[in-house]
Symmetry: D2
Subunit: 346 residues, 4 copies
């Protein structure tokens, strides 16, 4: 039986190259076409030596595939994706172009008018833990951002259960690969090494995505979310620390409350292959190269606040791994196929 | 004229060794005695090659000095400090042993009964920006912790002016040198590199210090402070992001409010040589090796929250540099003596 | 059909834990027993969260297995291995205890008399590229050291073909995980970060292993090898730069000589799954987490010297991956089983 | 008495910015003018926050100064320097434009014909340890490259005394700041972090500089030098390991020979303020931010080879610090003025 053919549009960014790595080890699909603008015509292994065994040549245009991943930048991605959908090709879009439900958000946050607002309703937000069924039948999946994946998974159970007041602080620390492969002074080695700083204080583009999804979990509520991302000196990994006041009286005092909270999370993510509730502050290193999201919910008893910490590898569960998880669902494959690799430690 | 003689108790930790480095370049005092337990008898330059030009031998006991720095661990430090005070020697204690005003806090946070509660009132909390006059006439200065220095300086102006509701979140990111020179698995290179994690979620020892000092700034108020420290893969630097709701109506909306806030901070720290208010998210790298604390106050207009970010070098303004700043005040020297070095970048 | 049962003695070091990670993904064998002294009784996932899916408990003694890996320190390892061999259990020993053919070398380099000199002849040096057939029928395989793997693979073709004079310089740069999981000041994060230094100038223990194997390739010759290892600030990876004068007249001048050299290497490693000859200076990052050794042979035309650079992941091809490669051969499995993972980049 | 006015051409690279930092702390000269092309018109502190206390504005053209540093790239630098010399302004050129004595080397190594060959004889190679007197009376000093500084200082004593055969291997490991502030994929954080690789195998531009200077030390001899630089993941620091056969019979066997060698180096650098002979393999960290070069000469007794290891901070002794050392000599100031800072550790 011939394998399903898949392709990657713009393989030359970090999300694209990570997709290629993971798909190379996927036994049920075959990566048959990869594109890239400046590198078109080169062997993939010439640009990315670790992928030389794939024996692919970077093309200018995608060849015939059954499913395509778009790893184009936002605004560019929609232009590539729309014609593919019209040809009946399923798409997992790693860009932000179909994540927001309201077309009006695009000019506000991404500085472009959305070219196909009708598709925004049709697109499924590709967080399998919340939208598994919808992803399975989707033609177009909008793969979540790296920060939103960690933040939404951390907060979904308590938002859904109305355990917290709507005053939420999300403080994220990200490695540099989240900023992509495009060179910049901010990610120049000598600038980023031995340095930590916040950025995007006026509003990061992942904020509307986080609020949209959290608000959908508890329609009556309107959450007040502050999100501050930080760049820290490592290559992979996002650590997200979330703070919110617990609604008074809903969770027991002391250790008992912590245990109730833990049970809530364990139940919420009971059958999830890629979410693990842990009893200690999680380390990004424990997710390095894997598709796991680790979550540690706890309580600051002095103040009655919830603290939930999550971490993940921004290029795997935060991008390429989650895209393959979505692909597996869309193709009716076991969800974990090709994503079984354990984290590499140390 | 003979210089003032100063000594360092326990020179072999990172705070001690950084004191030695800075004192070596101080023109008004002379470092004449350094102690260390296991290394006693060795030349300082043998243990720390970068200090070999000092030509000092590590002693078991402090020789006669006019002022002593104690860089002993907590509980041990008080034992060393008390006899020195009785001999009339001025002391800057880098440990936590005299930072908390209430003796009852010591068993709770540090697991030992305080040996000299009467000294807690007499000791001056060595944050010159808040206690300059008191430090100048103090016999015993309790040098602040690294996290508290960054957090208190970030929040003091708005707490003092009652601009924020008492619901404060402090999220700090620290390099590994804050954990000291004592080896541990947590700070083993292969474990700490390419890793980020929170720690001390049950309550870090710097929390009571932060709340004590912030509460003293606004006696009527009782602040509800959550403090979560994180270890990130760099050697030096603490980045602290503080969040609190602005009191409604006290600050103008929009850019005007940001400017008012900025003016408040500029005024509060008007003549401070080591606090700089900056108009962008500060980078720890811009304080590397210097005694500066950079502070960036801003407003999350969507939620009406204050965000203040501070950063400093945990071994300089967070420890040894601040100790020398205190010493300068105690000796009637210009406050910046020996602390003029600019940050080393990149 | 039941799978072959394998066990790991001393799973708690970095080689042990990496073996567990790789074996967890090996479809033909089952990891059924892991031991560790101080951690005995704990769940493996408690000590190493990334391995929690293995559902193993660390034991004090190895349970019944068909093949065992010993990841004990040298001298300790032999004590564990000898009884297993007597029980007919095949062993891959990751320590140095059976690598050197001459028992007299052990007191000299490792400070202990060898407890079973007769086994030294029987043990096969587990570098499959040189000893594939012998490994396949071995009861005891001495898994090579991390430095020797990179150095021997880099130099074997030219030594074998007598293309170089016997004056060899080997300059290696290693990440910190090569020093193991045991904490030390040298590998304390704040000491090792932003630092580079040579070590073991009086003679590193991997030197006799390198000379033994290179001399065996060209029995008439006696090589004069200088080997200097350096510690550099990264977790994984060894980069080895080898220098030797080319024998006059054996290789053509100019680009033609480089191409001849390249062909020699391509031929020598023609069917090797884990050695790749590359046309540019290889990056350790391109081997991260994989079992590959990349080799770049070239010529310094100004001086007539050969330069060969190799790199590998010290915990995979330099330890656990190579051990599994050896196990595959010993069990008659395809050599690449469980070792197919591509390097993780970036 | 008014201070000597100095200026920096192209302050915006890492050498330029490091010059500014060091000059800010120099008590005998005043930095009055800094230039930069793209940043002209901006305050220096706007581009480099750690320099904001300097209160300088970046200019398009250098204002009147008594001495200028050129931190322009090669080929551009000569264009700036020549007119200054014609105006009688002393110059320390940090570029390579006046380092090589033979004009013919410039097209070969730097791809441009030298615009002023007559100046090459007049320019003094600014390694004070070899050319102190000449520097003191020079109008134009060619500041050495970062790699040559470490390599020449490591080898000068034994080349001068003809203790080694002319077969020299120089293996250098450099942090990323040596590649400058211009962004590139090679120094993109995610590419350079956790990576090590050699580069410039076809011949690095610092090679002719190294051979020129070593050959000048022993005119009869013609050295055969192989130089391979490596990029390792740290910001500052160069570690250089040099290998050469000892001339038979000139140095005693065993420990005695090591001690003779050590004495030779101690004598050679007896009164040097910035060269320190150490009895152990030096750590780049011990020179971080300082103008020191640490050198450790030793013998590989098994092979009769000399091994000399040196290290320095590439931006200080390898660039800006050495430039100031040269300036001090040219201005008749004590050589160490402004360069007294100890290394920052850890």
């Amino acid at each position: 039986m011939s394998k399903v053919k898949v392709g990657i549009i713009n393989v030359t960014g970090y999300a694209g190259v990570e997709l290629a790595r993971l798909l190379a080890q996927h036994l049920e699909v075959e990566l048959t076409s990869v594109t890239g603008r400046s590198a078109a015509g080169k062997r993939l292994g010439e640009v990315f030596p670790h992928l030389s065994s794939l024996e692919l040549v970077i093309e200018a245009e995608l060849s015939e595939v059954d499913l395509a991943f778009s790893a184009m930048p936002h605004q560019e991605s929609a232009k590539e994706v729309i014609p593919l959908l019209n040809q009946g090709i399923k798409v997992v879009d790693i860009s932000a172009d179909f994540r927001l439900k309201e077309a009006a958000e695009y000019p506000r946050w991404y500085n472009f008018p959305h070219p196909a607002p009708q598709l925004l309703k049709q697109a499924v937000y590709g967080l399998p833990e919340l939208y598994r069924t919808q992803v399975a039948s989707a033609k177009l999946v909008a793969n979540p951002g790296c920060y939103p994946t960690g933040a939404i998974l951390a907060l979904a159970p308590v938002v859904k259960e109305s355990l917290i007041e709507p005053e939420i602080i999300i403080d994220s620390k990200s490695g540099a690969s989240g900023a992509g492969r495009t060179i910049s002074l901010q990610t120049h080695y000598s600038e980023a090494n031995e340095d930590a700083a916040a950025y995007a204080l006026a509003g990061h583009r992942h904020l509307p995505e986080i609020t949209q999804e959290l608000n959908l979990l508890q329609p009556g509520q309107s959450l007040s979310v502050t999100f501050v991302p930080h760049l820290i000196p490592m290559t992979r990994g996002i650590l997200t620390t979330c703070y919110a006041p617990l609604v008074s009286g809903k969770v027991a005092a002391g250790k008992k409350g912590e245990e109730e909270l833990r049970q809530l999370y364990l139940n919420f993510y009971r059958d999830e292959p890629f979410v693990k509730i842990v009893g200690f502050p999680p380390h990004t290193k424990h997710t390095w190269g894997s598709n796991l999201c680790l979550i540690h919910p706890t309580i600051d008893h002095r103040t009655g606040r919830l603290i939930v910490i999550s971490c993940l590898d921004n290029l795997v569960k935060g991008a390429a791994g989650q895209a393959i998880q979505n692909m597996n669902l869309m193709l009716g494959l076991p969800e974990t196929t090709g994503l079984e690799a354990l984290a590499i430690y140390p």
